[in-house]
Amino acid sequence: MVEFTKSINNKIGLHLRAAGEFVKIAAQFESEITVYNGERYANGKSILGLASLAAAKGSALRIAIDGPDEGEAKAALEKLIDDKFYED
């Protein structure tokens, strides 16, 4: 199990399209991925779940990954958030 916290800094936060990009990557891994925004959390492989977290720009997301490929998953997701969900 690995965990990390990261602020999202794309233009308008984890909206539906950004959530879609997140899921595209998350779904490639076997590990279970859970995304926390404060008290709320969602399955990292669900677009609707992620979108319903209502994570605005600047929100700090805690991401917990548990499974055989958790290391790779962490690296890939960190990169996605750093790249601002390829928005620009």
């Binding site: 539906l16 399209r17 669900s46 609707l48 779940g49 319903s52």
Partner: protein
């Protein structure tokens, strides 16, 4: 006109369209006229079946079976949607079909699937109730989110929910979600996926609670040539499937359970409208020329390639305004250069050498596109829209220009920029056009080097600068809807002040005159596009002002032509000279109305809008 009689409450015998006879009162609702024409028919309520989802406890032994059934239904719903998607892609093009991608995404969502399965397993809930609970939870959480795109998906989520529930409850065969006989579609709101499914042959008209004149339903109805009234607020709750209903797309009125008197009135109106149309259609092959041989160009405003057929049918000489917003709005993402190229090319080819003026996207104002990550503006009509948007999102602008230029190899295409306020916007936009031409040359694409470039005159500042602007461009098109709104500072949608929105306000006539004179002084072509073309009195003024081109909805063109063919240019010029002396709209209107009655009696007599 017939208002007194219409407002009476009927107590005569009702034709038992819907089960046992009930006392039904006539209800009149006014909305926004979205597509012209009048139809009397039976209502078909989209969404009429209230899905009652029973909540039951299932036996422990049934749990796995219930889950299996749920997964099977999901995959069958998905199959059905994919089939529908292919179907619509074949019939209406891939862009229309893309609306189903959001549906499919929801069906495949792990959270929805897993949470439903978990509820069935843990609480031994039946799958339908579990699924409903999960989806409702998602929708509730979406309520709090400021994301225009997400809000637009609301209808999609509801749609998918309904499909799955219907299949789960095993009623998919017995229930219909589209009419089997010609009906008037009544809905709270229609998603593109709803409208795409209706068979044109059984769709008499649309009436919806939500929407404006540029909403999806409005545009589609116009392209299908069926009447529509939108923005009816609470009609849906007042109608039942099978109720008799009148949709008057000319005035934006809907009458539910019309009295026999009302029906007779509307039947007469339909007959008159039909006669007028037939009469006008006989003019299709004649030119738009006055009695003293002054010829005007008569073109159409369109939103979709599908509309080009009706442009030709109504005798249009081309497309004076091809709005590209609809294409952008109806997509899930920005349309690619190739997608745009194909569409512009299709329009140009269908017009077969006749001109088409493509207006670069005027996103903003009332047309917000979710995927562009735009946040709502406090004052969108004065906000980031038109050319302002294009010059800051040069990437989007250039993609569109590349597509337009490439399509120019296949027809008579012109480019037009909206919302010009200052000269620099024109010079910058032209520079970008030059860049695009350079790049296309380098990329070895064929295109027309001399595509005409014009601008919309729709702001008071553009009118003030008209002469200077005329030096920069090949043509003007006066966009009266915005010009009037900006000049008179009136929002037509605001019922408290909408009476102040006046086509024939003395300031508007002066602005039109100044713009047309500036264009002619610089020897450039000047057209008019806007709803003002649908007003016979304004048309007379525009003839007198010597505008070169009228561009209006396809079905308005014959009437404009009829007016042009009934008068002389000379008498309209002197009419304009006379009205220029008046200081008030009412004096101007009186003068023109007298002229209209005397010179174009038949148009006046069959004028459709009761005042």
């Amino acid at each position: 006109m017939r208002s007194n009689r219409l407002r009476k409450i009927g107590n005569g015998p009702k034709n038992g369209l819907n089960g046992p006879p009930r006392e039904k009162r006539e209800i009149r609702k006014n909305g926004i006229s979205a597509s012209p024409g009048i139809v009397i028919g039976k209502a078909f309520l989209k969404d009429s079946e209230l899905l009652v989802v029973p909540t039951t406890k299932i036996e422990e032994s049934q749990v796995e079976q219930e889950i299996e059934k749920f997964l099977l239904v999901l995959s069958e719903t998905k199959k059905g949607l994919l089939k529908l998607r292919t179907n619509i892609a074949d019939r209406m093009g891939d862009d229309h079909a893309r609306i189903f991608d959001a549906h499919l995404m929801i069906l495949e969502d792990v959270m929805v699937v897993e949470d439903t399965v978990a509820l069935v397993r843990k609480e031994r809930l039946n799958a339908a109730a579990a699924f409903q609970r999960v989806v409702n939870r998602v929708m509730t959480s979406f309520d709090k989110i400021e994301d225009d795109y997400l809000k637009d998906r609301y209808v999609d989520i509801k749609d998918v929910k309904r499909r799955v529930l219907r299949n789960l409850l095993g009623r998919s065969k017995g229930t219909i979600d589209r009419p089997t006989e010609p009906s008037i579609i009544v809905a709270h709101d229609l998603s593109p996926s709803d409208t795409a499914q209706f068979d044109r042959r059984t769709t008499l008209a649309y009436a919806t609670d939500l929407g404006g004149s540029t909403s999806h339903t409005a545009i589609l109805a116009r392209s299908q040539g069926v009447p529509a009234v939108v923005g009816l607020e609470d009609l849906f709750g007042r109608v039942e499937t099978g109720d008799a209903i009148v949709v008057d797309g000319n005035t934006g009125t809907v009458v539910v359970n019309p009295d026999p008197g009302t029906i007779a009135d509307y039947q007469a109106e339909i007959k008159r409208f039909k006669e007028l149309e037939d009469q006008l259609l006989t003019l299709t092959h004649y030119p738009a020329v006055t009695l003293d041989d002054k010829e005007f160009s008569l073109c159409a405003n369109v939103d979709m390639p599908e509309e080009v057929a009706s442009v030709l049918e109504y005798g249009g000489q081309g497309v004076g305004l091809f709005r590209t917003e609809y294409f952008f709005i109806s997509q899930e993402q920005l349309p690619s250069e190739d997608d745009q190229y194909k569409m512009y090319r299709m329009v140009a080819e269908k017009l077969d050498g006749r001109p088409v003026t493509i207006r670069t996207i005027d996103i903003g104002g009332d047309k917000i596109v979710g995927y562009l990550n735009r946040s709502a503006e406090l004052n969108p009509f004065m906000g980031w829209r038109g050319i302002r948007f294009c010059l800051t999102r040069k990437d989007i602008f250039k993609t569109q220009l590349r597509a337009i230029y490439r399509a120019s190899a296949h027809g008579n295409i012109k480019i037009m920029f909206p919302m010009i306020v200052q000269i620099e916007e024109v010079t910058k936009a032209k520079e970008i056009c030059a860049e695009v031409r350079q790049e296309l040359k380098k990329d070895r694409f064929a295109f027309n080097e001399d595509v005409e470039i014009g601008i919309m005159i729709e702001t008071p500042s553009a009118v003030a600068m008209a002469e200077a602007l005329a030096k920069e461009v090949d043509f003007f098109s006066i966009g009266t809807n915005d010009l009037i709104q900006y000049t008179l500072a009136v929002d037509r949608g605001n019922s408290k002040i909408s009476h102040l929105y006046q086509n024939l306000h003395p300031s508007i006539i002066r602005f039109l005159k100044k713009t047309i004179e500036a264009a002619h002084k610089r020897k450039i072509h000047v057209g008019i596009c806007g709803e003002i073309c649908g007003d016979p009195m304004s048309v007379l003024v525009l003839i007198g002002l010597g505008v070169d081109e009228f561009s209006a909805s396809p079905n308005m063109m014959p009437e404009i032509k009829r007016i042009i063919r009934s008068v002389t240019y000379d008498e309209c010029k002197s009419l304009v000279r006379r009205v220029m002396r008046y200081r008030t709209t009412s004096e101007i209107e009186r003068e023109i109305e007298d002229f209209l009655k005397a010179r174009v009696p038949s148009v006046r007599e069959i004028e459709r809008t009761p005042r």
